[in-house]
């Protein structure tokens, strides 16, 4: 894969964020409908059908593609909600839909043979055999890789599959294989796979205990902060727990993924598309991150070393990690 053809795939949780991403130079934006059919089913987020029609018009006029994420797992007995999402994305001329469920892939492939299908990270296809399965069975043309693979493993994979590979380069970070985690529903009854939410705000409480603030999810303490210290959101796998007699961020620190410095290696590995996480983010955040990655990709295209860009301001001082792309993360 040459840098010429690399695509920057950018999040848009609202029509305003879509415009910000398009204006900042996104090659693609990805969006979801305002319901449980996508994995960012948060209040005040996502697109109605008319909003998506307008967003697609805005993006297409400026040469940007629109991908619609329909990446939760349809509820048994009620496939219509998810099928209609696929039908409407096709009708509104979305450039692709991003799917995770085998049954829904099967439906989309049969009902809309002309519709381009991408495999969501939530399908967690981590081997060449799994990716080839989705390609052969449903004509999947691009797979978003789960955040479990190292750069050399991605390079090997790219040479073994006949379709495009997309990887996450920035933003929130799942530490479990995506789409294979029920921690959230264990604590709250709601999960990414079933409800499109992880560690939902409806189950979050901040409780003052003496000079401390305790963040809880579903009644379980996820972290504790000194009064006055900013209390982070209690995402279950980014909490502090005690195990083996020691208190630690057992699964992962409250950190976010940043692979700006790895972009040349990922391009050399054969990756087609770089995905920025953050459909729950506002338009200013989206605009800033997309601008930074646009500059980096354009520099690589010109054969230059990507500029060092300070993303600390964007990540609100959160620690940053290159995640599973480096073997020592495991």
């Amino acid at each position: 894969m040459s840098a010429e053809n690399v695509e920057l795939v950018c999040p848009a949780g609202t029509p305003a964020a879509l415009k910000a991403a398009v204006d900042a130079g996104a090659d693609c934006v990805y969006v979801g409908f305002r319901d449980e059919t996508n994995a960012r089913n948060f209040p005040g987020l996502n697109f109605s059908r008319p909003e998506l029609a307008d967003g697609i018009a805005y993006a297409h006029e400026r040469g940007t593609k629109v991908l619609v994420a329909i990446n939760t797992f349809p509820r048994a007995g009620q496939p219509e909600i998810w099928r209609k999402a696929v039908d409407d994305a096709a009708r509104l001329k979305a450039d692709a839909v991003i799917l995770a469920d085998v049954g829904l892939c099967d439906y989309a492939h049969r009902a809309h043979p002309e519709l381009r299908l991408h495999l969501s990270v939530q399908a967690s296809a981590s081997s060449a055999e799994a990716i080839r399965f989705y390609h052969q069975a449903f004509g999947i043309q691009r797979a978003v890789l789960p955040r479990v693979l190292t750069v050399p493993e991605i390079a090997a994979l790219c040479g073994q599959v006949p379709i495009e590979m997309e990887v996450f380069v920035f933003g929130g970070l799942c530490v479990m294989a995506e789409g294979r985690c029920s921690l959230s529903s264990y604590a709250t009854g709601q999960s990414p796979n079933m409800n499109g939410v992880c560690s939902p705000a409806s189950h979050v409480r901040y409780v003052e205990k003496g000079d401390k603030v305790v963040s809880q999810l579903g009644g379980f303490t996820i972290n504790t902060f000194r009064s006055g210290e900013s209390a982070g959101y209690p995402t279950l796998c980014k909490g502090r727990f005690e195990a083996n007699g020691r208190l630690s961020y057992l699964f992962e620190e409250p950190t976010s993924l940043n692979t700006l410095s790895l972009l040349p290696d990922l391009i050399a590995a054969g990756v087609t598309a770089f995905k920025i996480e953050g459909r729950q983010r506002g338009r200013a955040y989206v605009g800033n991150v997309v601008t930074a990655f646009r500059r980096a990709v354009d520099a690589i295209r010109r054969g230059e070393t990507p500029p060092a860009i300070d993303l600390d301001a964007i990540t609100e001082g959160n620690r940053q990690t290159s995640g599973a792309y480096e073997r020592s993360w495991r």
Binding site: E129, N193, F241
Partner: protein
């Protein structure tokens, strides 16, 4: 299917020594009233070589005892070595059913009868229908499904449906090893510290409430699933197999209790206290099948009796 429900023993998910692992299966072959027994490393490919030398004896004894042996595949397949393992398991016809725990295994088993394990996402009838066409004859459902969903899937009549009825639930799988991380180690140099915890490493919240259990790269529930009280209702919804996930406790006694309730020899209420006696320190949960948080123990609420 009502009345004919079978018991299956899931694969040992923990890193037991090969001797303990072998002795466990031999005792289950001789004494446990289970119909199906799963064998194979599901969680971490680094453990696999230790069991290779004892698997043939275990499989032979289980088969001789009249158990249906199912060979379970690895859940998260990433490396060349792991891909080779899947090819070896699915490549040649051995006469044993294979349980696919990811889509690389399911794809390799296309056109042949096989089992789909609980680590493959089967949430709806569309996916179930696809897997049935692919050759699946039995599907063990993921842990977070409610009885309404289980009933809907069992009512399709496409494959046999299996549900985990006992043991810590598999909640997540990762490339990262949290057992190693808890000792400031990496997965590559893990020193196999997961072997120190035969039922997993308990994870407490900061205020001392037990919450989860870590088993290498796998994260499990702290609570043990216990569906004694739901067995007959789930069987009436069409569930054909109930899975008991192995723990260090007396699994023969556990299997006898579940068998007795399925056979009508004991009521669920009569079996509850003896099960608690077998696991005096365990906390039980049945929340998921009641459509609630997975850690809940719901009592006094009946499951839906019909298919939704």
């Amino acid at each position: 299917m009502s009345g004919a429900a079978k018991l299956s023993l899931g694969p040992v998910l923990f890193n037991w020594s090969p001797e303990r692992w072998r002795d466990f299966y031999l005792r289950m072959a001789d004494e446990a009233p289970v119909d199906v027994v799963h064998v194979g490393e599901v969680v971490c490919s680094k453990r696999q070589p230790f069991f290779d030398k004892v698997i043939p004896e275990v499989v032979e004894r289980l088969t001789a005892a009249g158990k249906q042996v199912v060979l379970s595949s690895l859940a998260l397949v990433m490396t060349e070595r792991e891909r080779d393992g899947i090819r070896a398991l699915t490549g040649e016809e051995t006469g044993f059913l294979v349980e696919a725990n990811d889509y690389s295994a399911a794809a390799a088993l296309k056109g042949r009868p096989h089992v789909v394990g609980p680590l493959v996402n089967v949430y709806n009838e569309g996916t179930l229908a696809y897997l049935a066409r692919n050759g699946a004859v039995r599907v063990c459902l993921p842990p977070e499904l409610s009885a309404a969903t289980i009933g809907c899937l069992a009512g399709q009549g496409l494959t046999e449906i299996e549900v985990q009825a006992f043991g810590r639930l598999p909640l997540a799988i990762s490339a990262r090893c949290y057992h190693a991380r808890s000792r400031n180690l990496h997965k590559d140099g893990c020193q196999y510290v997961c072997g120190e915890d035969p039922d997993g490493m308990v994870v407490d919240t900061m205020d001392g409430k037990p919450f989860l259990a870590v088993n290498g790269t796998q994260t499990m529930s702290y609570h043990y699933a216990n569906l004694l009280g739901e067995l007959t209702a789930l069987r009436d919804l069409g569930v054909a197999h109930f899975r008991l996930s192995p723990h260090a406790c007396d699994m023969v006694a556990v299997a006898r209790l579940f068998r007795a309730v399925l056979d009508g020899g004991r009521s669920a209420e009569e079996a509850a206290a003896p099960l608690e006696d077998l696991l005096p320190d365990a906390e039980f949960a049945n929340g998921y099948v009641h459509g609630r948080e997975g850690h809940r123990m719901v009592q006094g609420e009946s499951l839906p009796s019909g298919i939704l």
